[in-house]
Symmetry: C2
């Protein structure tokens, strides 16, 4: 019987809640439904993992344990118990295959699993390592919106990440639209090419979205590891070769104009009320040249009705155009660009549309038109 | 073509959102998926109904219409459009079978349905009418927790409401537990016996939960109508005879004690982590007499573990007792009683437990024990 005191239950709850995100929810391997807890003196290391994703958190000075020990506790139940106990100190007693958890006049005795049976993970320090500003990393990872959801090409279910000199580039595409973003580093540390699963990108955004400092990325051949403060996240990478997307990006444009991003987002959200009732969620963009040029956006559904919106545009160059696009793809692309103004580049019917932030912003979105039948 | 101006879109959104709750979501009668809108001068009356529940809201001075007219618009889409238009004024143009909705540079044209085909409802002033404090009514209606969810006895799916002299009594039971609550009126206006569907009780609570004034209840043979400010709600009543529940309520008790309600709720929420993993969600209550008597509450699940909690009790009279109850039923009953202390009355193994607020609170909960196998 080993006795352990947790000093502050709220810190424990915060740590467990983070690690819980990686715990397997549906699995045939029961031990993956648990937290691996490692107590060493005043240090507690919590691990949750479904083998594709692992989150490990080390908390110093929030416990005191007489002897080092490790156990695996059922994650959902352990977290529920700790959340509902009175805030403050918690006493743990670890027996052969059970743990007693008590606070005040409340005592739980819960069956545990063998720590030796918990899989070990490659937390080694091999591979290439870069430091990157958390907000820059999150911007790149948010390209996950453009990843394929289900596909016969598994590589498209991830974000392609690669380094070149001082830059790290992120690319995602589902073969109908594409997003790309580039982040500048302080040093020349070229990252190898890798394909990060979209789900891992989502987890990483949640772990760093409030951070204002830097995170460390370690890449080995099969894994990406992100470390930030006392949290380590490891994801398996998608194996395979990412397609060369540079060839599909047009370089000559027949029409170019600038529009206000926030206004466009609101307009497209309204257009979407009508367009989303149809199979293709399609709207029509039409440029009206004049002294005050404007962009008409419209959608209609038989039996329901139609919508027409108009927004002023500026810096119009080139030909008139009228094309149909997925309202959702336009919205996804514009929501990713957290800027005031965006520039549209079109290059003729059936050619892709490019949307990029004005100024020196480091990325763009490409959207294929819906072909008129 | 009739032109109408809505002055303040936010008031319209608030009204539509309330009425939307009664609109049929799944129905074979398309017109019930719409809002019935009746414009008369500066007055707009909005009706949503699935025929069992009807919500009607009359808003004065938020529109100006040239001629009186009525239409039925598709409810979800109309509400979506109005919510997403820029806040402020909205122009409506009503044609033969379509409505144009515009604000700024945004214009929707949506197909409408014939107002003549919308069912009419018994908003007449017959029947008995009482005024009741909104918070008192809500307390009675919250007994819906004890109604049967699915049963071969449809009458148990409702709350039995009846008047006697200056009092209105609410009773609900699912044959395993029962709750009752009595509200005092200012005048002798005996309400007839009626059975209000639990779903209607939920809707009525939502409509009046923020109200600090009185609401008016009108009862006819088949309907209950509640009016509060500019909102009218009508529910069909459940037909049939409610069982006589007075006979099951014990009057002699072998054990009585008082406990703190908030503490008990917290304790039972923790016990529930273990008990809810089993089929019967069962916990054991055990009274321990001593100079400082206490109530032990425990639960265990094979293969998972156990929990034990202790709370101090006071005013203990009578025999020791040890019985098993559904943790959920105990929690439901205690959560309904918004008081500091509750009194428990037990009358022997296999007899129902009674929990009531201390003092002169006007109701109690009765819970049958889980019989030990």
């Amino acid at each position: 019987m080993k006795k352990i005191v947790i000093k502050d239950s709220e810190r424990l709850i915060a740590d467990l809640s983070k690690a819980y995100r990686a715990v397997a929810k549906q699995t045939t391997i029961p031990i993956l439904t648990g937290f691996h807890l490692q107590f060493t003196g005043e240090s507690l290391t919590i691990t949750g993992s479904d083998t594709d994703n692992t989150i490990q958190i080390t908390e110093e000075n929030n416990c005191s344990s007489s002897k080092p020990c490790a156990i695996v506790v059922p994650a959902r139940i352990f977290l529920d118990i700790v959340r509902k106990l009175p805030a403050g100190e918690i006493q743990l007693k670890i027996g052969t295959n059970e743990i007693s958890i008590s606070a005040g006049k409340s005592t739980f005795e819960i069956k545990t699993m063998e720590a030796d049976e918990y899989p070990s993970f490659p937390f080694d320090d091999t591979g290439v390592c870069v430091e990157i500003q958390a907000s820059d990393l999150a911007n790149g990872l948010r390209l996950g919106y453009a990843c394929a959801v289900s596909t016969t090409r598994p590589t498209l279910q991830g974000i392609h990440i690669f380094g070149k000199e001082k830059a790290v580039t992120f690319v995602a595409t589902d073969a109908h639209r594409l997003g790309t973003w580039t982040v500048q580093l302080e040093q020349v540390i070229p990252l190898p090419k890798m394909i990060l699963p979209a789900r891992a990108a989502e987890e990483m955004i949640k772990l760093v979205e409030d951070a204002t400092d830097k995170v460390t990325i370690h890449c080995t051949e099969n894994t990406l590891r992100m470390s930030h403060q006392n949290v380590t996240y490891v994801s398996r990478l998608i194996s395979g070769t990412y397609p060369d997307t540079s060839r599909v990006i047009p370089t000559n444009f027949s029409t170019t104009f600038v529009a206000n991003r926030d206004e466009l987002v609101k307009v497209l959200e309204r257009v979407s009320i009508v367009s989303k009732e149809g199979k293709t969620n399609m709207c029509r963009l039409q440029v009206i040249p004049s002294a005050m040029p404007s962009l008409l956006i419209s959608a209609s559904q038989e039996g329901m009705g139609k919508v027409q919106e108009e927004v002023f545009i500026s810096d119009l160059e080139g030909e008139m155009f009228e094309m149909k696009f997925s309202t959702k793809y336009l919205l996804d692309a514009l929501r990713h660009m957290n800027v005031k103004e965006v520039m549209f580049h079109a290059s003729g019917v059936n050619a892709p549309l490019i949307i990029r932030p004005t100024g020196n912003e480091p990325g763009f979105a490409l959207i294929l038109p819906v072909r008129s039948v």
